[in-house]
Amino acid sequence: MNYVEPSSITELMNYVTTVEDYRCLAGGATLVAMMNVGLVEPELLISLHKLDELKGMRIDQNVIRIGAMTTHTAITDEDRLTGNASLVRSAAGQIAHSAVRNMGTIGGAISHADPSADFPAALTAANATIEVLGPSGRRVIQIDDFFVNYLETSLTEKEIVMAIMVPLSPADAIGHHLKFSRVDGDYATVSVSLALAMEGRICSYARIAVGSVAAVPLRLKEADDILIGSNLEESEIARASELLLKSSDPIDDVRGSSSYRKFLIPRLIRQAVLQSKKELSYT
């Protein structure tokens, strides 16, 4: 295996287009573990850590652009992640433990597309868009189109994630990532990500995604539509979660059986919605 550290995008694209079997190394939190176990054995490992364009966060027209190489810790500490975007911050702080958060990056996390990880569901609920770069240039992928299957994204073979754009609006929305795991810092058995806003007693904005219950984060416009315009009463929450539950297709694994995950879905949604509603009523 060879290892390179390109210092420009041109140099990066050069490697990407000329080498067949490569992997891009971001924080390495998952990739290095997979290489250690022998699950992944690329011929070329391309470190992204010298590419300044992938670093940092900036706000442009009410959208925060988070560079792909931004660590979970940096996101957790970022107080410009407000309104709708606070959801991303809430999720980042719950990923694994601080040692992992110091290394792991948002770009790496979503490129890996593990449905039980925290960012896929959180970014889905936060209505993010993903800026990607490939040999034929840049394009933007809406988050709902980004995750395709277990560990599979809609990135074409030579594309890499450059940045994640998260709208700050609605500015009065709050984001909440509710994660259920048996031990602190574990992958979610089920997670619920939610951005919610209210005008008086009426829900003016809602976007829910459920993680770890299907091959990709589970989000239904119909479920959001039930909540929007409602008073977020128990019955409305129940109807929305019923829809999501019906669309879920969780697997059996060491973290829980499919039926257990299905048991959790409506309960966690209810908890997340009610908690957010309560919080909004104080603000």
Partner: protein, 788 residues
């Protein structure tokens, strides 16, 4: 006048551990930190099947791989390592199978090593290992305990008629009569899943054979260097005197590093074969597939009580899943044996019967792991107590008080024949109930229940077996020493060199010996320089296992320190022309009692002893070196006791258990270092939180381990640790001068049962719920209350 800086009063005080600074500074030295000139690395090809025949091994491609020095099969290694049969002859007969360093023909568990690849680096060895081609014939396997017990069906070892490795019956009293006369009968079945030890530092060994002098030097992560030396000597055919084992720093043992492991002994044999230093360090994946597993029980229990709650009889049947082999040299039988012996120990039970057995499975062998059988014994006993209390509507503290022996009932014998020399169960329980404010806990529980919060209170009173006599293992022919020794030597600068057979696995053995020697002689702790873990240098001894370090090796250190003090005073009395009885030692100075005058410093004594011997009177030449040993031969074990209470909340929407607070009152006899005892209790508690709530080795029906990574095998972390408040009652053992009993296992023995009882207590408003299957996972809890 004495001033504080002169004090060397260490015994009984929370003195910080001197040897931890190096570890904190990253300057510890573990086996993997050591590199020898010319050293090669070993990697093993392990069986992907739980039961299969090896038809053909093609190693040609592997041999061609870069950096490869040798590729060796089990057949080829046979000439360098004799196979062994684990057996203890003082117990009922064992059906034992021959185990090889690497099996030549047939593998019995997934992960069993079959081919060793030796290369210039671990990475190159791993690359080459992938090129070894093996033709397998898969055989029918035995996965679960239930399958193993079937009279028809596959056998783990085809030469045997059954999968039964061992069984034993213990019976005392008139069981049938008691059951037919009983006012109340309680029956429960307990299931305890397998788990493993997960030491921070994985197993490892560096073997360096030198054909020039026939010496084999092992740097080995083991708790028991002398015992390993005896076992390795026999299997490798190298005299013990030619075999030296050095234990550098150890990152956790928990019983896991007591046994003979195929990969480790193969590494030693390969070093002899190749006449080269070789290193093998298990990686985390190998650890899950090859470190001993533990527990794995199905226990049926039945208990008779009077109307007043007195237990009149107890009967149990335990089948433990032993895995593929009876692990050598201790065998896997002691786990079920201790379930049989220890289950009734805590209470005054007169009529008892236990049938305990061990079955073979095509899984990793199970063996001694922290608590050995006793966490299961207490799970059963304490589970039965709570089941009876629920059924009879008696308070859970009350039913225990009714059945505990009076604190002045000792010494006495348990129904299983164990001598209980002195316990303080009533005093400990009373202190515990006071410390946790038990009545208020019940009131609070009631309030919380009204708010829809499922608060549970778990209470247990247990007995912990510690410091075994040779009757436990050595009587059965195994080379397992129950003795420990300590050599002390006055050095030329007046410091004390202390060479102990005890070993440090992170528990604080070093600090305890340091305290005992310094306090007893009367010198500062940093004037005592400790050496441990080298068979060529230290006196012979058992090492670290079964909570025996402080009680046994500590006693040896005390005896030596007393003898050394006497020798020092004798020598000084010769120099000062004062009777030894008129002298004492304080902070490294020999002082005359009457005048409080310093007669001589130990520093000066060191100089005179080693350089200016002419200053001694003619005919007197002091030998300021002593060795004393101690072997606990009075009782099978020195029993300690522990009472624990905890509060927890069960979330019935998720099945999640949240531990709230834990209180412990422990009696391990004389406490040498309260801080270290508390650390032992806390460590045991946290490890047991893992057993109770998270840890299980999940196998599928083909006996393939499904969660053999730290991503999938859950262990408790800081977030899962509640506050643990600890208090002590001290009932010193009378068999030693030191008076200490062990304390390393009380935490894990108590906590599993306390958590189970707490969960069942929390769920009481939901009807007759009794959860008895460990680990107590959210799904099992929801199933028990009919939610899924």
């Amino acid at each position: 006048m004495a001033n504080d800086t002169d004090l060397t009063d260490y015994i009984g005080h929370s003195v910080p551990r001197a040897n931890t600074l190096a570890l904190l500074n990253g300057r510890g030295q573990f086996v993997d930190d050591i590199s020898l000139p010319g050293m090669l690395h070993v990697c093993f090809v392990r069986s992907p099947y739980s039961h299969a025949r090896i038809l053909e091994i093609d190693k040609q491609d592997a041999l061609q791989s870069p950096g490869v020095v040798a590729v060796v099969t089990g057949k080829e290694l046979l000439a360098y390592c004799e196979p062994w049969r684990a057996e203890l002859t003082h117990l009922p007969p064992m059906q034992t199978a021959l185990q090889y360093a690497m099996p030549p023909e047939r593998v019995c568990y997934q992960g069993e090593p079959v081919v060793a690849v030796v290369a210039e680096s671990r990475a190159l060895a791993e690359d080459a290992a992938e090129l070894v081609e093996i033709d397998w014939e898969e055989l029918a396997n035995v996965a679960s305990i239930e399958e193993a017990m079937q009279s028809e069906g596959p056998r783990v070892h085809p030469e045997m008629d059954t999968n039964l490795a061992w069984s034993m019956e213990l019976e005392q009293g008139e069981l049938d009569k008691q059951f037919s006369a009983a006012d109340v009968i309680v029956e429960q079945e307990f299931y305890v899943d397998r788990q493993t030890g997960v030491t921070l530092e994985p197993r490892g060994i560096i073997a360096n054979y030198n054909s020039a002098d026939g010496q084999l030097l092992l740097h080995h992560s083991t708790q028991v260097p002398h015992i390993q030396r005896a076992v390795y000597s026999k299997q490798l055919g190298i005299k013990e005197s030619k075999l030296r084992i050095i234990c550098p720093d150890l990152g956790g043992g928990f019983g896991l590093k007591l046994h003979i492991y195929s990969d480790e002994i193969s590494t030693a044999a390969l070093s002899v074969m190749l006449n080269r230093p070789l290193k093998f360090i298990a990686d985390r994946l190998e650890s899950f597939l090859s470190d001993i597993h533990a527990r794995g029980h199905i226990v049926k229990a039945k208990m008779a009580l009077t109307e007043a709650g007195n237990i009149t009889a107890l009967q149990l049947e335990d089948v433990a899943g032993g895995g593929a082999y009876l692990i050598h040299p201790r065998t896997s039988t002691i786990e079920p044996l201790l379930v049989g012996v220890c289950t009734p120990l805590a209470y005054d039970i007169e009529h008892y019967k236990a049938n305990v057995s061990l079955v073979y499975q095509n899984k990793v062998p199970t063996a001694q792991y922290r608590g050995v059988g006793m966490p299961v014994a207490s799970l059963v006993m304490e589970g039965m107590m709570d089941a009876a209390a629920r059924k009879m509507q008696i308070d859970k503290a009350e039913i225990r008080k009714v059945n505990l022996r009076a604190d002045d009932a000792y010494p006495c014998k348990s129904v299983t024949g164990e001598t209980l020399e002195g316990l303080s169960q009533h005093e400990s329980l009373d202190r515990l109930l006071e410390m946790c404010a038990y009545p208020q806990l019940r009131e609070e529980q009631q309030k919380l229940r009204e708010q829809g919060i499922y608060r549970g209170i778990g209470l247990v009173t247990v007995v912990e077996g510690t410091s075994p006599s040779p009757a436990l293992y050595a009587a059965g022919g195994a080379p397992i020493s129950s003795r420990d020794a300590c050599t002390l030597r006055l050095e030329s600068d007046g410091s004390i060199a202390c060479i102990t057979s005890l070993t440090e696995q992170g528990q604080g053995a070093y600090a305890i010996i340091n305290q005992i020697v310094a306090d007893t002689i009367g010198v500062k702790m940093d004037e005592v320089d400790i050496l441990m873990g080298d068979t060529k240098a230290t006196p012979f001894g058992g090492g670290t296992w079964a909570s025996r370090g402080t009680s046994i090796a500590g006693e040896a250190a005390l005896l030596s320190a007393n003898a050394m003090k006497e020798k020092i005073l004798d020598a000084v009395s010769q120099l000062a022309d004062a009777p030894a009885e008129q002298l004492y030692i304080k902070n490294g100075k020999v002082i005359e009692i009457e005048t409080e005058k310093v007669v001589l410093t130990l520093e000066e004594l060191g100089r005179i002893t080693h350089y200016r011997t002419m200053e001694f009177p003619q005919g007197f030449d002091p030998e300021l070196v002593v060795t004393n040993h101690y072997s606990q031969r009075d009782h099978m074990m020195l029993y300690a006791n522990c009472a624990m209470c905890l509060t927890l909340d069960v979330d019935i929407n998720t099945g999640q258990v949240k531990l709230d607070q834990i209180w412990v009152v422990e009696d391990c006899g004389k406490v040498i270092n309260p801080m270290l005892v508390d650390e032992q209790i806390r460590g045991g508690v946290v490890q047991g939180i893992g057993s109770a709530l998270f840890e299980e080795c999940i196998y599928d029906e083909d006996a393939q381990l499904r969660n053999g990574t730290l991503a999938d095998y859950l262990v408790p972390m800081a977030g899962e640790m509640p506050d643990i408040k600890i208090a002590h009652v001290e009932t010193p053992t009378l068999v030693t001068e030191l008076g200490a009993k062990g304390c390393g296992e009380a935490g894990i023995i108590s906590i599993c049962a306390a958590i189970m009882n707490g969960i069942n207590d929390a769920l009481e408003p939901l009807g007759d719920v009794s959860l008895t299957s460990q680990p107590f996972t959210p799904e099992k809890i929801l199933k028990a209350i009919g939610k899924i």
